[in-house]
């Protein structure tokens, strides 16, 4: 497992556009949106969270695009299968590395921008926590979509994973409301942690089944 995590970190850091690209897209969207709309700061504060949520959704999808494609094309998947007999550890390692190297920075950027747009200082940590957990959920969902479509293009990945991602977004919207109105934060966080742990345990299993089908 450590070997896999190290190799995934190395692969991801080698391809600058894979991890830096989504972060820059996120920053671009969060800067461009207030510039493109002529409204007061008061009105912007009301729905800026929604922009952050949608940006997280888009950048998570962009970040995970082609997650398994390179390994499929160059034969690494088959080699991994010969070593481990399934892809559970590989999927888990990939998702962990992507969440750690891309998801957490995305959450940090989102939290900083929310802080700059009306969130009180003591809510900064809450926003960061919620965005990190939502990235964990979204990366699991989009990794599944990528495992199904592998090298068939982004559209298929979107169609496969969007129905699972949208309930996560609805949950995220509810969680942002708890910060805005100061009620029920602990229960929402507990729910997200529970779903996150369940997904992190089960999704690599499902991804493994999908990847095995591709190399059969």
């Amino acid at each position: 497992m450590v070997r896999l995590i190290k190799s995934e970190i190395f692969k991801l850091l080698k391809k600058l556009k894979s991890w830096l690209g989504p972060l820059l897209i996120m920053i671009l969207v969060l800067i461009a949106f207030p510039l493109s709309i002529d409204i007061s700061q008061f009105d912007l504060d009301k729905f800026y969270f929604s922009i952050i949520v949608v940006s997280i959704l888009m950048t998570s999808f962009v970040a995970t695009e082609g997650m398994f494609e390179e390994d499929f094309e160059d034969g690494s998947l088959e080699q991994e299968f010969l070593l481990e007999k399934d892809f559970y550890k590989l999927a888990l390692a990939k998702i962990f590395v992507f969440v750690f190297l891309i998801g957490i920075p995305l959450a940090l950027i989102g939290a900083i921008f929310s802080f700059a747009n009306g969130v009180a200082f003591n809510s900064f940590a809450k926003v960061f926590l919620i965005l990190s957990l939502s990235n964990l959920l979204l990366f699991n969902v989009f990794a599944f979509g990528n495992a199904l479509s592998i090298n068939k293009g982004a559209m298929l990945g979107v169609l496969s994973s969007l129905p699972l991602a949208l309930p996560v977004i609805i949950l995220l919207g509810s969680s942002i409301r708890t910060i805005q109105y100061g009620d029920g934060f602990i229960s929402i966080i507990a729910l997200m942690i529970g779903i996150g742990l369940l997904m992190s345990a089960l999704m690599p299993l499902i991804i493994s089944a999908a990847l095995k089908t591709h190399i059969d």
């Binding site: 599944f144 199904l148 479509s149 068939k152 559209m155 298929l156 169609l159 496969s160 969007l162 129905p163 699972l164 949208l166 309930p167 609805i170 499902i206 089944a209 999908a210 089908t213 591709h214 059969d216």
Partner: protein, 243 residues
């Protein structure tokens, strides 16, 4: 024992033979009941006190939405059978059912939107149930697109089955969304466990429409699945004997 039972009754050959006998019965029953339900509902059921005559869309909308979910649930059971017991027929049935499910979900969404105009003053609202049904429609499209993307049909069957099983978690979300989130959409008027909140003069044609649409869709599913089976099994000896 379960495996032996499943494999005895789930060969494409047995399915084609069985459905040949059942199809005329289902289509006649389906179309008759649907016609009866709709004529009764459209022409004989009294006007609603609040919604006037626009409520008559209920006799198409409610059956459509019920079967939109049921068809996906059926697909999920087939997906489980395909993945666990390697039943080929189950994959063929998913492939045949997905476009029917997509069509009926679209009909449910369209009829709901049209009904919303005189009732709520809007054709669309981002409330929980409507959004969940839209997500269900996207799921059907995802299943159809996924299967069509792979030239290796055996691989396509397995991937499609995996996607269907994962997507099935959305079904209880749709079912319970009206209770979990406060929403514009009215709560369920009829339930399996409890009674009904609508008058019998409207309830009976609704129930008849639901049963009629069910049999009609089963007939459509039989037709679609048979043509797909003939295409997939074209090199088998039993096909030549059958034709």
């Amino acid at each position: 024992m379960i495996s032996a039972f499943i494999h005895k009754f789930s060969s494409p050959k047995s399915y084609v033979r069985l459905t040949e006998k059942l199809y005329p019965f289902f289509i006649v029953l389906g179309v008759s009941l649907l016609t009866l339900g709709w004529i009764w509902g459209l022409l004989f059921a009294p006007q609603d006190a609040v919604q006037g005559n626009s409520y008559r869309i209920i006799f198409l909308h409610v059956p459509s939405v019920i079967f939109a979910e049921l068809i996906y649930f059926f697909m999920a059971i087939c997906a489980l059978m395909h993945l666990v017991w390697r039943v080929k027929l189950a994959a063929y049935l998913i492939k045949a059912a997905a476009p029917i499910g997509a069509m009926i979900t679209f009909l449910g969404l369209f009829s709901g939107s049209i009904w919303g105009i005189p009732t709520w003053g809007t054709w669309w609202q981002w409330d929980a149930r409507i959004t969940s049904t839209l997500i269900l429609f996207i799921m059907y499209l995802g299943v159809i697109t996924l299967h069509g993307s792979f030239s290796n049909l055996i691989k396509a069957d397995r991937l499609m089955s995996i996607l269907v099983i994962i997507g099935v978690i959305n079904i209880p979300i749709i079912k319970k969304s009206v209770d979990w989130w406060s929403t514009l959409h009215q709560p369920a008027s009829i339930s399996i466990s409890g009674g009904s909140s609508i008058d019998p003069s409207m309830l009976y044609p609704l129930l008849i429409s639901i049963i009629g649409l069910g049999f009609t869709l089963i007939s459509l599913g039989i037709l679609s699945s048979r043509s797909y089976i003939f295409t997939r099994e074209k090199n088998k000896k039993w096909i030549a004997e059958h034709v």
